[in-house]
Amino acid sequence: MFETVSKIVAAFLTLSIFSFLYKDNPFYKFAEALLVGVSMGYAIPLVYENVFLPYVYTPIFLSHKFIIIIPAILGSLYMFRFSKNLGWLARYPIVFGMGIVGMGVPMSIHSSVLVQMRSAMLPIDGINTALIFIGTVTILLYFFFSKAHKGIYGKFTNVGVWFMMIGFGASFGYTVMARVSLLIGRIQFLLGDCLGLIK
């Protein structure tokens, strides 16, 4: 009984969302509004239990690490984000959390630039490595904005465009697969979990 009702509710809400395909309608609007509310409401107790209690309450009130009061006060300044006059106070917690971007600079240069450069310099030992080399260089040149695409240079950078198009084609193909997979999942739910038709 309990299970059946749970499934009916879930199936009903699923179908409400699907009804958007027909047109925007109150069922969809209802489901969407509910989703927004429930998602946010869901986060509150979870954050309280998993974050607030162990990282704020326990250190201050139980471990007596009173220094943690400072970041806790900093954190509570978030509340002023929407205030007209005191909005500037919210900058402190934001700024504090953002300090870590400093680490992002060398680290992302390291892994998305230098490591990639190394792999782009592999010895050419066949047609494929040659193609990867040409492709990488021409596309990089295509996005080099300090020289006009004219003459032979223009033709050269144009090669990059073709490489990109094939690359985008690959993304395209995979995206189609991703979208279909999600639908498959939902239909597996409706047919399998709710109706028990899939074994």
């Binding site: 109150p26 969407e32 390291h110 782009a120 310099m121 010895p123 990089l140 904005f145 300090s146 395209f172």
Partner: protein, 974 residues
């Protein structure tokens, strides 16, 4: 109509939520007694230390939809505390007929996460004995300390500095304890006491979280058993060195194991020995049983096994002049012909139980067959770390094949994967040469891996059952001529491919032996295992953590002050022979008090000795007197304790002792054992060095550590991570570029940006809309203002709006983010002013639709269809919803121009729009149009860096293709 929609919505809402109130009554109605678990049993766990019970019960059927079973435990029937739970998947239930739950070892007693107050378990009958878990309240938990063995784990700093001195009046005078608050413990852990009765019950929790009635509590009594039997003992006798070697397979190591012992047994005594064991077993089961037999085997070796660390499992015993002698353990055994002996190993536990292994006969061999441990090895501080690793490394790098795959159907072309084990000393591998031979022994090919990508492609002339590889590594000046590796790929019928066979180094099998690295510091008696490595590995990293804990038994408490009481004495280190701990105390007075007690005891013993006549008694007393005397000497003459006694300031004294403790526990000496696992092993000496590194300790603190830096290694923290050097340079270059170019742009320096093809298209498209007399749609993306793409989109909006104003064409700008809204309004307004057409500006042309992703798109689609827009612009950040808009635009026949840096959406824009600005082109277009210094400067900085990158890539590729790999190797690999 709309209102009725909404009413429907509210009704639905109520429907969904009202259901939540149903579960409780729905279950209450059903018969709850059928939910009580049956066959609940608590049985002793065999072969353990007496701290374990196993609970078992029959799980309820799947139809009952149980999500969890909760277990309660106590020392009497009336109060049972929550102890743990077992989760169950509600859909499938439990597959077996019995469910088990192990209550063994130390588990959580109380810590800061425990509840504040003791609570009666809800949803149970009024008189139920069930309570929640132990609370932080000492009034409740304090008395429970007596019911378990309680272990307190205390961070060293808290023990040393956060304690409170507490004097407790006990039977034999007042005793001083260190009192600690719960918060100073990392946790308190409890273990069952052997022989004590414990009560258990279990109940089920259903899917709707109803707690079902509990089963009638049952009793369990944990029993201390003899340790688990060691399965395999191997013994060997090396004739030419007259050394016996023993090795065994370690059993599960538990806290109560104390000694490793080895015995020699005459083959003729085997029956007597077995009788002895049988008798011992009987005695264990039946305490009344009196033993009569003596152990016929002779003890030849014994040592403490060093809990909680993994002990050494090899032993060497030397026979000198036909005898094994160890005065300290009172061993003096005469050994005859080895052939007539068997070896036996035993494990002893605290309760005095002893478990013997199967007997093993000696493999009599010669030292020539023992593994060769002549590889040069060393111990060093690991570089590039925060000072918590030592590295132990040996030998030259090894190369080996890991896998192979056929590349074609004829099976004549194979892809072979190889791997390399290096060490810090040989870390720069220049070349690896592979010579490939076919089955007949003919060389098929020679490959020079000048860039190691871990794979080779080999052409076989014909499908082959076996291919042999000869390999050599050139690294750090070593040509590797003296280290030729051979390995074959052999066809494996089961796996149906060529699989790597055994690896040989100069004809010797490499992985027949493995390395075990053992370590020992100043504060533990025995060597412990650091890490084990394969015969092909060349280094191990030994972790020396910074964190240290003090373990103390807890049995007393002070409820008034909220303190747990632990003994205040602690050991600073062991003496140089690693025998006696150098004990001291948190409180200086206690040190003197203990010393006085020793002296008093000593004086008593001496008077006793002088008054007695019995020879035997005098001998016994003399031994005691010696022990006390040596303790007193140690306390009075030890440099650490002497120095500590000099401190006037209490905190300074503890600080000094802390430093000493740190050195003692973080400095390790190392040795390597290379073994085949069957007692054929070679053991190295302790590694020593002459070059003593400078250590960060005061003279006073390190005074007693005479071997520190020579054979004991203390890991040092480093100030720069050398492998990040390329990143450092790159960060500097790029940082400078950005800073400099933005400065230049701000100064108003003319910076060239090539014309972007899409920009002309923008103008044309606006023209077309004007021709058709229909409005333009501009969507500045769906993300917020902090997104670079949104900013770029807005600056293109400025241009489009200006052109539109010039042509007097209406522009519509739907916005999703309410912070973007006023900014977009401002942009459009300004554009109209700039174009000199403030009159044509309509404030409502920029409007907010909704924040919801799909509803926003539905709104935009509505605008497209209603207004019949002639040209649609999508500039900014888009997600999955993008194609819904462009599809509609496509059906209405509008010209569509898009620009985004969302790589996943670009393909859809390209296929559905007439023109697309790809990725960075969007930024470039916006910088080109807006000429805003910040954007322009960044674009140029990125551009110039990109030029550098292109140059490096081209040069690097050309160089590496002609075997010059220095440039490519200058870049990081991971």
């Amino acid at each position: 109509m709309k209102l009725t929609y909404a009413k429907t919505g509210l009704l639905l809402f109520l429907m969904v939520f009202s259901f939540l109130l149903m579960p409780i009554p729905s279950h209450a109605a059903s018969d709850s007694s059928s939910y009580i678990v049956e066959n609940l049993k608590a049985e002793d766990i065999p072969d353990d230390d007496g701290g374990g019970l196993v609970l078992s019960w029959k799980p309820l059927p799947k139809e009952k939809r149980i999500i969890e079973y909760r277990i309660y435990r106590g020392v009497n029937k009336d109060t049972l505390f929550y102890h743990g739970k077992v989760d169950v998947n509600v859909k499938t239930g439990v597959s077996g007929d019995v469910m088990y739950y192990y209550d063994s070892g130390y588990n959580n007693f109380v810590d800061l996460q425990s509840p504040r107050k003791l609570k009666k378990e809800q949803q149970q009958s009024e008189d139920s004995p069930l309570y929640g878990s132990y609370p932080r309240d000492l009034k409740v938990t304090g008395p429970q300390l007596a019911n378990y063995q309680i272990l307190g784990v205390i961070p060293e700093k808290d023990f040393l500095f956060k304690n409170t001195k507490i004097e407790v009046e006990e039977e034999d005078g007042s005793v001083v304890y260190a009192g600690l608050k719960l918060r100073h413990f990392s946790g308190l852990y409890k273990k069952l006491i052997p022989g004590k009765e414990y009560f258990y019950t279990v109940f089920a929790v259903t899917e709707s979280r109803s707690y079902m009635p509990y089963a009638e509590p049952i009793i369990g009594v944990p029993i201390d058993n003899s340790p688990e039997k060691i399965q395999n003992l191997y013994s060997a006798y090396v004739e030419d060195q007259s050394i016996m070697k023993f090795e065994w397979v370690r059993s599960l190591f538990t806290s109560d194991q104390t000694n490793h012992s080895l015995y020699l047994l005459k083959k003729s005594d085997l029956t007597a020995f077995n009788n002895y064991i049988d008798e011992q077993k009987k005695a264990e089961i039946d305490p009344e049983f009196t033993t009569t037999l003596e152990n016929p085997a002779q003890l030849i070796f014994q040592r403490y096994c060093g809990y909680p660390y993994t002990p050494n499992n090899t032993v060497e015993v030397e026979i000198v002049n036909g005898k094994i002698i160890n005065d300290e353990k009172h061993i003096n055994v005469e050994v005859g012909a080895i052939e007539s002996y068997l070896a036996v190993f035993s494990l002893q536990d605290r309760a005095g139980y002893e478990t013997f292994s199967e007997v093993s006969s000696f493999d009599i061999c010669n030292s020539a067959i023992l593994p060769d441990l002549s590889d040069v090895w060393n111990v060093a501080d690991r570089l590039n770390d925060k000072g918590d690793y030592n590295v132990v490394q040996w030998g030259k790098p090894t190369v080996f094949l890991t896998n192979s795959t056929f590349l074609n159907e004829d099976k004549t072309r194979i892809l072979v994967n190889y791997d390399v084990y290096k060490n810090t000393k040989y870390d720069k591998i220049k070349n690896i040469f592979f010579n490939v031979f076919d089955m007949a022994g003919n060389k098929i090919s020679t490959i020079n891996e000048f860039y190691q990508d871990s794979k080779l492609k080999v052409n076989l002339n014909e499908p082959s059952q076996s291919v042999k590889f000869e390999m050599r590594i050139v690294a750090n000046g070593s040509t590797g001529e003296d280290q030729i590796f051979t390995q074959s790929l052999v066809f494996n019928d089961e796996i149906k491919s060529l699989q790597p066979g055994k690896l040989f180094l100069n004809g010797k099998e490499v992985n027949k032996y493995s390395y075990s690295v053992y370590k020992n510091n100043y504060s533990n008696e025995e060597w412990r295992l650091s890490k084990k490595a394969l015969g092909s590995q060349r280094e191990i990293f030994d972790n020396v953590t910074y964190r240290s804990y003090i373990y103390k038994g807890v049995s007393k408490f002070d409820a008034k002050k909220g303190l747990f009481l632990v003994s205040s004495s602690f050991s600073a280190r062991l003496d140089d022979e690693l025998k006696n701990p150098i004990m001291t105390d948190l409180y200086p007075q206690e040190v003197t008090k203990t010393l006085d007690q020793y002296k008093e005891e000593l004086a008593n013993l001496i008077t006793m000795r002088d008054t007695t006549d019995s020879e035997a008694e005098i001998a016994g007393l003399n031994a005691n007197i010696d022990a006390y005397q040596s303790q007193i000497d140690l306390n009075e003459n030890n440099s650490i304790l002497k120095k500590a006694a000099e401190f006037k300031n209490k905190r300074a004294r503890i600080k000094f002792l802390e430093k000493v403790k740190t050195i003692a526990s973080r400095s390790f000496k190392y040795k390597i054992v290379k073994s085949d696992g069957k007692a054929h092993f070679s053991s190295s000496d302790v590694y020593r060095t002459e070059k003593v590194k400078k250590l960060p300790f005061s003279k006073a603190a390190r005074k007693s550590f005479t071997t520190l830096g020579i054979d004991h290694f203390y890991p040092m923290p480093n100030w720069f991570q050398a492998d990040k050097f390329p990143a450092l340079i790159a960060t500097f270059i790029f940082g400078f570029m950005v800073f400099f170019m933005i400065k230049q742009a701000k100064k108003g320096k003319e910076l060239y940006i090539r014309p972007i093809a899409g920009i002309d298209e923008i103008d044309n498209a606006i023209g077309r809309a004007t021709e058709m007399g229909r409005p333009i749609l501009f969507v500045p993306g769906l993300s917020g203002i902090s997104d670079v793409a949104t900013l770029a989109g807005l600056s293109i909006l400025g241009r489009v709006a200006k052109k539109a104003a010039e042509y007097d064409t209406r522009i519509l700008v739907p916005v999703r983010d309410y912070i973007v809204l006023p900014i977009a309004q401002e942009v459009v307004k300004e554009a109209h002013y700039e174009a000199g057409r403030p009159d044509s500006h309509d404030k409502n042309s920029v409007f907010f639709i909704t924040t919801s992703q799909f509803a926003f798109v539905a709104g935009v689609n509505g605008v497209m269809i209603r207004e019949k827009t002639a040209t649609n612009f999508y500039m900014g950040m888009f997600w999955a919803e993008a194609l819904i808009m462009t599809e509609t635009g496509n059906t209405t026949g509008a010209i569509q121009i898009s620009g985004t840096d969302a790589v996943t959406q670009i393909p859809f824009f390209i296929t559905t729009c007439d023109y697309t600005l790809i990725g960075e082109e969007l930024y470039a277009a916006s910088a080109y149009l807006a000429r805003e210094p910040l954007q322009l400067g960044t674009l140029k900085a990125v551009d110039y860096t990109k030029f550098l990158i292109i140059s490096f890539v081209i040069i690097g590729t050309l160089l590496s293709t002609v075997h010059a790999t220095f440039l490519i190797n200058a870049f990081p690999e991971k």
